[in-house]
Symmetry: C2
Subunit: 432 residues, 2 copies
């Protein structure tokens, strides 16, 4: 089983910062260093950061007031030794050459622990910050496909062993082990090579979180980790199969990609105590912030609906399919009202919430893992640092005792943790 | 007197890595942490990194194989407490929204120590990595003027005190203290606001290194630090006056901008030992790498010229004026051959080299400082770590004894070190 922790400094619960003793700012270097240290204590595969390119008043505090993700991970590279460091970066509002450099640099700084969540920016607000009309869903994925190829190509421009640094002869680089990319595509023309040597991991790990058809295709072709949004075991099993069955098309096997659904664990000494904790958190929800987030998830303004009305069938939005599909499906199954759905969104932004004793949490994770619904989980602690401490100190040991989870790291790179080989550059053939 | 250190991990001398015991890789987190710790021991104002967006085989090893600068500084933010952290980022091949976020994030991570060297990319090779024709010199500066304004505007979107985080009421942000930028200009349309609170420094420090007319204008209007290329005291005094005399046009005074010429100190126990050390370094120069760099500096291929011919009068290149002007002027004054000029370029990439005992080095720096030719210096150690240790342990104490340089930090932010006030946001009037 693989574990990641999704870090929003004020907690993944939209009002988690109001919990007694919880951190109330994402802008604390010490705060994120503490979270990262806890993740390493729990032998986590990676720490992960989302991102957004537009500020919406009333949004989740940690979406609104935050570090830029890649710089934050670079700072954490200096205070950690094993933890994978993953961040979201947009294929819609950045240049492949810049993105390739940033994640390669993070890989060098961390000794082989960087991962790039290649997203197509879903928020329509981003366009206005880049002087552009936000492209539609499928158009964004067309760009993303080429963008990811260019970035991977740039990472492959330097072969291993290109840096010689021979003091005697004065030769620093073996130029035969460095090639230009010479990419000329539909959206990008990028010559290369990069301004750095091949990464410790060969290539940084690629993460994908798309669940639409184009998103799944991109994930199946290029990703080593896939994050997903789930609310239901049977749907999770279908999604698991949908991803894994696509892999052979691209010459890949089921073990080449780890599917990690997001889950918010709310832990108590008894199930009742855990339920009480969740109730406390839900009681902190203001009337608007969850609605703003739900509107974003569904791609429509839902603030005008009667909170007591049932959620109707709605089309999937242009922004992002994953959250909307899982949430609308759950609303339909459970006959939820707008108020119910808004509360669910406020809790974990549309992710799955589980609640109970450490044993119950471990039972559920084990059940999903063994039912081929997940290769592990992206853990979303509702607040920091206490609720993450509880997961690491109370749930992880149970998973370890059951033989489901590592007791210690057996390698140093994120690819090591994922059981993936270090890829050779495709530019240099078998010699690489 | 203000001091910065220009870090190229294998040394600023193009062949510094061949010096016995010197570091031979820029890709070492431990290596850069050691340099940063030495800079803090020497109470330096800042550590500075250049950048380039194209890899040229045979180039300076630390231009070719390196960390991306902003991620590297983010990593150093975690291991330092006072040192200013400055990096180059292009206004030609990036988006203002992304650049504003990166340096704001670095400022938050470092507690107010970030600085952005806003350059127009000089290397023609960069265009090919971004699918664009590299714009001409003056066109790049037109974009840069607007780019810097947008970035500063984004930094001003959040007023101090906008983050409330009131656990009782659940109010996280005071929305009246956050404004959109709504910039609509010739090159950029950027709505804002940023996805983070106002920086510890208000705004990160802005560095400029332009010496052309448009470069000087941008520097005089927006920069708090200016790096310059000098080879001669009388020319340095003229350049100093040229910058300072422009400041009142923009409502600024001489103390608002620190002009720091670049200088490579080669230090020995005797002048003869220092000269011997420089000769050793020059003996490490290969036949091609200095010529590649000289060609870049002059914007023309100089490899075909007879090394024994005198350097003729040449026009300033489209790439960058500063280096070419200083080097061609020196070549004319001193009747240098192509070989001489190539050797000079190999030493410090066109920067000024001084050589001698610690006392002699201190004398020269003091003379320039007191002659109104410099507010301090950007120190370019020829190799690391030893030659930087020598400067900090042998030259800095002399400057301190003479009352020219601080014995300890008196503040924590880079603006503190520079004696600059923390700027209020222009968007929120006197209330800010």
């Amino acid at each position: 089983m693989h574990l990641g922790v999704f870090v929003l400094g004020t907690g993944n619960h939209i009002a988690g910062w109001r919990y007694p003793g919880a951190a109330d700012s994402f802008l604390s270097l010490k705060g994120i260093q503490t979270i990262a240290a806890t993740a390493e204590r729990g032998k986590f595969d990676l720490l992960f950061l989302g991102d957004g390119l537009a500020a919406k008043m009333g949004d989740h505090p940690s979406f609104l007031v935050r570090f830029e993700p890649i710089t934050m991970l670079a700072a954490l590279a200096a205070s950690t030794t094993h933890l994978g460091l993953g961040a979201t970066a947009s294929t819609t509002y950045a240049e492949p050459y810049n993105i390739a450099r940033l994640f390669a640099s993070l890989d060098h700084l961390s000794g082989g622990r960087s991962a790039w969540n290649a997203v197509t920016s879903s928020g329509a607000g981003a366009g206005a910050n880049f002087g552009r009309v936000h492209p539609g869903h499928d158009a964004r994925y067309e760009v993303a496909e080429e963008f990811v190829d260019v970035v991977r190509g740039l990472w492959d421009c330097w072969d291993d062993g290109a840096v010689i640094a021979d003091r005697q002869t004065g030769q620093y680089v073996d130029a035969s082990k460095v090639k230009a990319l010479d990419h000329v595509g539909r959206f990008f023309q990028v010559k290369g090579p990069m301004t750095t040597a091949r990464c410790p991991q060969g290539r940084p790990v690629i993460i994908q979180a798309g669940s639409s058809e184009p998103g799944l295709a991109l994930a199946a072709r290029t990703a080593e980790i896939v994050f997903s949004v789930v609310q239901d075991l049977s749907e999770a099993k279908l999604a698991y199969r949908a991803l894994k069955s696509r892999l052979p098309t691209y010459g890949r096997s089921a073990t080449d990609v780890a599917l990690l659904p997001g889950v918010m664990p709310v832990i108590g000494r008894t199930d009742a105590e855990a339920r009480e904790k969740l109730n406390t958190l839900q009681g902190f929800l203001g009337p608007t912030s969850a609605l703003i987030m739900l509107s974003g998830r569904l791609g429509m303004d839902v603030s005008g609906f009667d909170p007591d009305d049932l959620v109707p069938d709605l089309p999937l939005p242009d922004s992002s399919h994953g959250f909307a599909r899982a949430m609308l499906s759950k609303a339909r199954r459970e006959a939820m009202t707008w108020r119910d759905l808004s509360n669910l969104t406020g809790a974990a932004r549309g992710h799955w919430v589980i609640c109970g004793t450490p044993e119950r949490i471990a039972d559920i994770l084990q059940e999903w893992f063994e039912a081929d619904a997940a290769d592990g989980f992206n853990i979303l602690p509702p607040y920091f640092p206490q609720s993450f401490d509880e997961f690491v100190d109370l749930v992880v040991p149970i998973l370890q005792e059951r033989g489901l989870y590592r007791r210690d790291y057996t390698g140093t790179t994120l690819r090591d943790h994922l059981g993936l080989p270090r890829p050779a550059s495709v530019m240099f053939g078998d010699a690489a």
